[in-house]
Amino acid sequence: MNLTLHVWRQKARNTTGQFVTYKATDVSPDASFLEMLDVVNETLIEKGEEPILFEHDCREGICGSCGMMINGVAHGPIGGTATCQLHMRHFKDGDNIRIEPWRARAFPVIKDLVVDRGSLDRIIQAGGYISVNTGNAPEANMILVPKAVQELSMDAAACIQCGACVAQCPNGAAQLFTSAKVAHLGVLPQGQPERYERVVKMVEVMEEMFGSCTNYGECEAVCPKEISIDFIARMNRDYLVAQFRGPRSTILPPLFNTEEELVTNET
């Protein structure tokens, strides 16, 4: 099939960019979106034009490197998929496709479709871990994790840090990303000792750079791992509880603790 692409080209961070139109001809419906761009790039190089810069690596939808706005939707029209796993069979011959980089203050454009997502790492640095040094671990089966809790943690841990949630959010908010990491660790028994300090630290750093959540649900719709906005509610709850119990308090039990409830409800 033949397509017309309108691609954002921008030389460097502080220059202005614009949409440039390219033709993609004889595109195989079985090719992935990135493979389609590969072919366009090969022709550009042959013509002596600089290829379109886009980030990509594993091309299996797991590394989180790739990502672009395709016709106004992060990762394109098919939900639950990263750009590398979006196949051209979802487009029609003659389609116009607009391709833009992620846009957010926290994701400055580096060149063309590549943006700097280092701000997400900063959120992890703020507390997205369990403070255990190598060698400090107890025998693995000493820590019992109910299957439903492990599954819930896994649902959150599936996040690939691609930044689509931020890109799609009308507020440029990173709530889905942050809440997924908060929940991944916060629902597990191993994550309890730091649960409330972690959420406060991560939210604070997140808010320095990103917008706030107004519950549009756009992030969930484009997340390649289909992470639920329920995790955002959970993060809000943990944050509120943390504020009421004070940073170091270990005396008050959590106001809401639904982990056990979850286990009975979900299985």
């Binding site: 607009r98 846009r103 107004t214 649900g217 504020q243």
Partner: protein
Amino acid sequence: MSWLTNFYRSAVGKKAVMAVTGVFLFGWIFAHMVGNLKLYLGAEHLNEYAKWLRVMGSPAMPNSSLLWLARAALVVATWLHVQAATQLTLMNRAARPIAYGEREYPAATYAARTMRWGGVIIILFVIYHLLHLTLGVHVNPAPFIEGDPYHNVVAGFQIWWVSAFYIIANLALGLHLYHGLWSMFQSLGLNTPKFNAWRRNFATAFAAIITAANISFPLAVMLGFVR
């Protein structure tokens, strides 16, 4: 109290404030709607109810004191709700300085996307509504009789554009509640798998009930059911 200011300084905290003040405002709107249903019982009932609002709480408290307390709380709640919304909106605008060339919304509802403008319409309407029916300022040609709200309502709604404004504002309120009532559960982190489906149903049901009831008043007057 530093934790409270810290808490409000965060966006998550502001959203919680919006949720709590939103619940309060919703409760008031609901009560207001229920009270207004007395319009259908006739002038006597409605006026009686209006009078009761003023003596509510007495003799334990002076007349109108509860009403003024409620009014003060409403003003504070509205102020906080609007202030937080404004601050968050500014924060969110700053978070995306460059807009997309093209933009689709695979999930966001119309209601969610119109919260801010809907809020502005509602505020403007509330001001008009207070001038019209509480303070009796001549913001429209209908005559205002102190102590006879039934008359004031009916006379006001007989003017087509007053009714039209009222209806539009209540449709905006309906959309605002449709998203807001669901959203507050998210903001406060009230979610469990069993409960989640009900959050949407709750928001839809109450948004529909309040809008339908509120809109029925001007319609009833215009159509001559209430005169």
